[in-house]
Amino acid sequence: MKIIVCAKQVPDTTEVRIDPVKGTLIRDGVPSILNPDDANALEAALCIKDAAPDTKVTIVSMGPPQAMEMIRECLAMGADDGVLLSDRAFGGADTIATSSQIAGAIRKLGEYDIIFAGRQAIDGDTAQVGPQIARRLGIPSVTYVQKIREIKEKSVVVERQMEDGYEVLEVQMPCLLTAVKELNTPRYMTVSGIMDAYNAQITVWNHNDLGMAPENCGLAASPTQVLRSFTPAPKGKGEMASGSVKDMAKTLVDRLSEKHLI
């Protein structure tokens, strides 16, 4: 089986602080990490490889040259090889441009059975790139995959997470699945994996390699512009009702009446 995992290097938002004046992220000195949902995506691929060792897992990522370190981290966890899309022409890409570049790379890689992606990246939180890639490649996608139940000869049976339950879906391969953190616990790298990862050759592709004109890449091909990003002011602490359901209902009605809401 051939599996592609889409991974992104992101700033570790648990360590990002907000500039109180400008309202922007202070990224200086913040470590870069493998996007957490993408680690779940990779783990899902590696579990398939554990069960069927002739499986090949390829990482595809887009980012500046420093994203190479993240690809090496994926190799040290057990991926077989990696491709980094890195080019000034790719800079400033929104999800539309990103998905067209990544889909271009996947087409160039050739045949595949499953593409795994994380649900969303912690820096942009759009959750759009995975499904957009599937659309561009003309394959089915299932988002929010919380469990892989069975891999059949030509299809996969998965559970799709809902707010209050899950759906069981069977999807034809090739397909794209986006992973949520409930899917698994990503494994650690191994020391020997790290040693191999630093001897591995990681392919880097630019717009020429993808056969794309610069005007169809990056900022030039991005219809979305971010006007402003901000942190909403924290809400005040709410009041919790306690006691029996009857007591709590009474408290709630009293409060709402007090405020003339009912």
Partner: protein, 381 residues
Amino acid sequence: MYAFLEPKHEMVRKLVRQFAETELPKEVIDRIEETHEFPTDVFDKMAACGFFGMRVPKALGGQGADYRSYVIMAEELARVSVVANIWATTPNSLAGGPILNEGTDEQKAKYLKPVMDGKIKICFALTEPEAGSDPSAMTTTAVKDGDDYILNGRKCFITMAPLADYAIVFARTNPDPRAREISAFVVDMKLPGVSTGAPEKKMGCIGCATSDIVLNNVRVHKSNLLGAEGSGLKNALATLDVGRMACAAQAVGVAQAALEEAVKYSKERRQFGKPICKHQAIAFMIADMATKVESMRMMLYQAAWMKDMGSKDVAKYASMAKYYCCETVQDIVGKAVQIHGGYGYMKDYKVERLYRDARVMTIYEGTSQVQQMVISRAVLK
């Protein structure tokens, strides 16, 4: 960023730090201190990450990493738990070292691979009540009897002895006390005549039992002799040579942890109307600690780099790193406790454990005075 390190070494640091912080949170460490037992699931996970066979070539089932990777692993584990580091470094040095140095292919397959995979535990039995810094004074004997050797004697302070499946026992194969003919044997701890004493009640490094091993007419087949007869002392010293850097790394990890705790506490604790870190007396102690931690680190990384580069002078530098790091960490954990004041004397605070765990470092794997002997001989030659 450090002069002697490459990106792959920082990736090893990232792995080990993530591992230690995830698998060894305060609750787990407190439980180890209470029960004196190290959790087997953490032990197994360390094996799975490859921590037990760092420098062993991949062809033998090891990780194929270098000395710098090894010392960084030791530093980062010790930063969170010294005892976890003892469990991880023992297979690399004291248990695996003698087999890697002198073992036959069969012995490597039988003992080294399972040690690296965490399937068996091997302890290193060199020290005796009357033979510590001078191992050539040992009195344990191995007398040839047909295809076997008969071992008799008592080993003491043997780390992991009550938990080990095998021991590498060093014994005299020539009864003449003037002959320094010492040989190494892999001894199955289940053999008739092998017994261990009660676990010692130690000051620190709780969670890895230490005891005597008593050998009473233990019959060991000659296939368990490591290397040639008489090569044991050389093998032991070569093993300890490697252990020195890991021990220095352990001191760096503990010093780093003590510094971090002191910084955190000095920002929280207020006296005379401000955080104590705003008082120069405390701020300058922290400046001293931070400077010393960096000097320890540089000495260690340089020694490990020299070893990786195949330098002939490395023994002197490894001894210097062991001596300097293990002495300096005493000062740093002392200051960390001092900054914590009365709280630092209480077991609720991490520095109390760091202080106890650090104390043995100037003693085991070659005392500071033995390191001074090695260094002075190299300088005065």
